[in-house]
């Protein structure tokens, strides 16, 4: 294994007393004060996250639109400059290669992919390149700071020279933040009002500090630990846990990302076939007793195993164990009573409607 890399905010994390872990080849903060504290800070005020490990590609050229319409499942030609789109790249068999964000700029497209997949995604995109398309891997030159929580608009608005109120959900603006050019997007992974801010890597410590200072008591550094609990409460998929090349968009509940009206995209035939009646579905599972489901635990209906947990945690917002898992389609209805094998003991649970946490400020 190569030595894990450090983001340009590593020294700030250290000075804040973060517990660092190796995540996808990067030394990243898992927590500062504690996962629960940070989770609640994001739900009630604001948190600042270093997510610079994420991969970024810039795709340009006269055929870029047609290319992206072929390699991703969504409608790229329908995007206007300033639009963001959550999408997927799939294999011809319909398996998910990665989930990603696409930001449509005047000059081309910014693609944001999972850190663990950056190299393989870049190779796969290049294998499928056609016509006048240039793909640049700008991951090392790009920093990403996420500011999430109901207070995020006020904090970012005080630093950015744009009309922040006019950035609606899944839109972005290019503007100056603390004097530096940034792409300021109203996207996130927490279920709260929030922004993801992309900019040139050398400015990261200055921008982090400016946001922290502007937020004062209202903002807390937040690590990957609470990022995971926050996203689980929203049923947002984590690549490698809930989705991978062995899962397809329909069973993952991601059919909404797929534009079946496009004449062609990689994986279309398989996705269409799967979409009719997926044999299993990713569902939200809430424990009925004191227990925490975790990745790999089996899901039972009576004496039959009907599925497996792909992500699980104690929900800091709800105070109960929650999990995501694939369950045979016939047992996947909301309200179905199930049990989870938790280290040899059957603990009762039921399928609930997504998301687990319903009071987020996402659309405020």
């Amino acid at each position: 294994m190569a030595k894990p890399r450090k983001t340009s905010l590593y020294h700030i994390h250290e000075s804040l007393g973060a517990k660092m872990i190796d995540f996808a080849g990067y030394l990243m903060p898992i927590q500062y004060s504690g996962i629960k504290d940070e989770h609640h800070a994001v739900r009630t005020s604001a948190g600042i996250f270093d997510v610079s490990h994420m991969g970024e590609f810039f795709v340009s050229g006269s055929d870029a639109e047609a290319f992206l319409d072929t390699v991703t499942v969504g409608n790229v030609s329908g995007l206007h400059p300033g639009d963001a789109q959550y999408s997927l790249m799939c294999t011809t068999a319909g398996g998910i290669i990665d989930d990603l964000l696409i930001y449509k700029k005047q000059s081309g497209y910014l693609l944001v992919v999972n850190a663990a997949n950056t190299e393989s995604d870049f190779a796969w995109l290049n294998q499928n390149i056609a016509g006048d398309v240039e793909i640049q891997n700008i991951s090392d030159d790009t920093s990403l700071i996420a500011v999430q929580g109901p207070a995020s608009r006020k904090i970012i608005g005080s630093l950015a020279d744009c009309k922040i109120d006019s950035i609606s959900f899944y839109k972005f603006q290019e503007c100056l933040l603390n004097g530096h050019e940034v792409l300021l997007a109203r996207t996130g992974y927490t279920g709260e009002l929030g922004y993801e801010i992309y900019f040139d890597e050398p400015h990261a410590p200055e921008i982090w500090s400016a946001i922290s200072d502007a937020g004062g008591e209202e903002i807390s550094p937040a690590g990957l630990g609470c990022r995971d609990t926050l996203r689980m409460e929203m049923k947002y998929c984590l690549y490698g846990n809930d989705i991978d090349q062995n899962t397809n968009p329909a069973e993952a509940g991601l059919k909404w990302t797929v534009d079946l009206n496009k004449p062609h995209f990689i994986g279309k035939d398989a996705i269409v076939a799967n979409a009719k009646s997926p044999s299993r579905r990713l569902v939200c599972i809430q424990m009925s007793e004191k227990a925490v489901p975790r990745q790999g635990y089996s899901i039972w209906k009576g004496t039959d195993q009907v599925g497996v947990i792909t992500s699980g945690t104690m929900s800091p917002s709800l105070g109960i164990g929650i999990g995501l898992g694939y369950v045979d389609a016939e047992h996947s209805k909301t309200g179905t009573e199930l049990s989870i094998d938790i280290r040899g003991k059957q603990k009762s649970a039921s399928i609930v409607k997504a998301p687990f946490y319903k009071n987020g400020s996402l659309h405020d």
């Binding site: 898992i30 927590q31 630990g225 227990a291 925490v292 104690m314 280290r343």
Partner: protein, 128 residues
């Protein structure tokens, strides 16, 4: 790192305090830090017998779960009921109000197999 000298320690990052014929057991400062926010503890019941080095319960944190291993063999005399309502005590005061269970000492020699504070410090260093 707080590692009180008067306690004895296991390789599973638990501490033991002799209290007459009984031993009070908890997790160490190091263990609570590694686990992160503790959300509940699954205890045996008073009257159950536990066996040295065998699991007697589990400790669930937000991010992970760990087995609790009996540092000595004996009967469970008491569990810390305060933990049921406030599991975070095991984070905030692991050697005090965050204690877990009290076990009768059935074989005093088992206590001698546990590490001293200094030994435990060296053990953590070697694991580090």
């Amino acid at each position: 790192m707080n590692i009180p000298d008067e306690l004895r320690y296991t390789k599973d990052h638990e501490w033991v305090r002799e209290d007459g014929d009984a031993a009070v057991v908890g997790i160490t400062e190091h263990a609570q830090g590694e686990l992160g926010d503790i959300v509940f503890v699954e205890f045996p019941e008073a009257g159950d017998n536990v066996t040295k080095n065998e699991p007697f319960g589990t400790i669930e944190a937000v991010k992970t779960v760990a087995d609790l291993f009996a540092p000595i063999s004996g009967e469970v005399l008491e569990i810390n009921e305060a933990i049921e309502d406030a599991p975070e005590l095991a984070n905030s005061d692991p050697y005090g109000e965050g204690w877990l269970i009290k076990i009768s000492i059935s074989n005093a020699e088992e206590l001698d197999s546990l590490m001293s504070a200094s030994g435990y410090k060296l053990f953590i260093e070697s694991e580090g």
